[in-house]
């Protein structure tokens, strides 16, 4: 009788050690830990006594994982099975509280900034106008990025064959650049010796009131 009790006691202790070892191994591994690795660990360490075979190790590992998963029940972490093994993860209900949102404002690419500047100074202007001034073709990606940022908006169509869209700056443009209206932009003559002129000979100076989008007017 005493022998049986002692053997039971020993088995309980072994199970507890297996449980601790599995917990520590899963905790400290950088990758999900497979049952296979844990089984090999138990067998290598001979934690289950000299007679234990692979099947004993497998069931010991499964028992340990089940009891760990259960122990996590009401705690802040979960034992989850992910691709290829087991891993601890933050409890899903807590993750949003722990998530820190970092503001990393985007910058515009150099090309996008140049394009935006040309639109600002030559609006309303077509894609071809922009390409003429920059001397290179404008990628759809750049135009999309500007559109997505809401800094430029369509301002009707030019009445020439193909009726291309005319682009101008938006209200958001003024806000982002801290301008009350477009007339607050420095005059082109202050910036440049040679002011680019569009093919049709119009300079589209946004500082002339006619060319100003209505919402840019002080009011």
């Amino acid at each position: 009788m005493t022998g049986v009790v002692a053997a039971e006691e020993q088995a309980r202790e072994a199970a507890a050690l297996v449980c601790r070892l599995v917990e520590a191994a899963v905790f400290a591994s950088s990758e999900p830990v497979s049952e296979q690795v844990l089984v090999e660990l138990l067998l290598g360490q001979k934690l289950l006594g000299p007679d234990a075979g692979p099947l004993d190790a497998v069931s010991a590992v499964r028992d340990a994982l089940a009891s760990l998963a259960q122990a996590c029940g009401d705690r802040g972490i979960r034992l989850v099975e992910v691709a290829g093994g087991w891993q601890f993860r933050t409890a899903p209900d807590l993750a949003p509280m722990l998530t820190k949102v970092l503001q990393r404002p985007r910058r515009l690419s150099r090309v996008a900034m140049e394009t935006l500047a040309i639109v600002a100074y030559h609006q309303p202007c077509t894609r071809t106008d922009i390409e003429t001034i920059r001397g290179v073709s404008l990628s759809q990606q750049t135009l999309d990025a500007l559109l997505e940022s809401g800094l430029i908006v369509p301002k009707g169509r030019k009445e020439v064959p193909g009726r291309p869209t005319l682009w101008g700056t938006s209200q958001a443009f003024l806000k982002h650049f801290g301008l009350r209206d477009l007339r607050e932009l420095p005059r082109r003559e202050e910036l440049l010796v040679e002011v680019p002129v569009l093919d049709d000979g119009t300079a589209n100076d946004p500082r002339s009131v006619e060319a100003l989008p209505a919402d840019a007017l002080p009011g």
């Binding site: 591994s29 722990l98 949102v101 985007r106 650049f177 040679e194």
Partner: protein, 252 residues
């Protein structure tokens, strides 16, 4: 024979020798320590002539210390000897402390050796890139860069001279059509005035105006609005309205 190879320098050897005395480091016999060291160094030199300078410098200093400790009592040398002994003891103690501190540190549960931290930390940061980081300086420098690049790229073209075009002439002739007096008129009469013509070299402009007007006249003749005639080569070109013919016929 005591080998020096296993020691990290003279002080390390001295500390080991002092420990060999099996007393508190503060109570070691400095004299016997000195004699032990000098014997070890002498032995090492007998076996191997070259010995790092550290060992020899220490040996020289200890020889001096030994002389101070052995000389017959003279208050000054005695004091020197005591001070030097104290200094040696203090340094051995400090080295012993360093060793003890190193052992203490080594015995700690070392991270990555004895204990392990979370292997797969969760990055719960979320990066919000919806904002936009722009300023006016970037905008203006972008504009200037684009324009300057464009100017650099553009090859030099001398300004093209504008001439009195066929279209100009056509417009002028059509306008004047109703005012053409009856009968054949010289084409020269319908050339634009100097002031009406584009600026440029006057000779070129005049010839261009003549050519333009002739072509306009031919065009209008083709559509039946004018008649043209030239009686001899290089002679004056004459024109008259087509409806004048009808008018004359009607009058006959």
């Amino acid at each position: 024979m005591l080998r020096l190879d296993g020691f990290e320098g003279p002080l390390d050897l001295l500390l080991e020798m002092a420990r060999g005395q099996k007393v508190d480091l503060a109570r070691i016999s400095v004299l016997s320590l000195v004699e032990q060291y000098l014997a070890a160094v002498a032995e090492a030199r007998r076996v191997r002539l070259e010995l790092a300078a550290d060992w020899l410098v220490m040996a020289a200093w200890l020889t001096w210390l030994k002389s101070r400790l052995l000389l017959p009592a003279d208050p000054q040398t005695e004091e020197e000897g005591e001070e030097a002994s104290d200094l040696l003891q203090a340094r051995l103690l400090e080295l012993a402390r360093v060793g003890a501190a190193a052992s203490w540190l080594s015995a700690r549960p070392l991270l990555g050796q004895d204990v392990f931290a979370r292997g797969a930390p969760e990055d719960l940061r979320e990066i919000d890139r919806s904002g936009l980081s722009v300023d006016l300086a970037q905008l203006l420098s972008g504009y200037m860069t684009a324009c300057r690049r464009a100017v650099r790229k553009r090859a030099y073209h001398p300004r093209a001279e504008r001439f009195w075009t066929v279209a100009d002439a056509l417009e002028r002739l059509s306008r004047l059509l109703g005012e053409i007096p009856p009968g054949w008129q010289s084409l020269d009469q319908f050339l634009p005035q100097d002031a009406e013509r584009p600026e440029g070299r006057p000779g070129h402009q005049k010839r261009a105006a003549l050519a333009g007007t002739l072509l306009a006249g031919l065009e209008m003749a083709r559509t039946g609005r004018l008649e043209l005639r030239q009686d001899w080569e290089f002679g004056p070109i004459l024109l008259r309205r087509s409806d004048e013919v009808m008018r004359l016929e009607a009058a006959e």
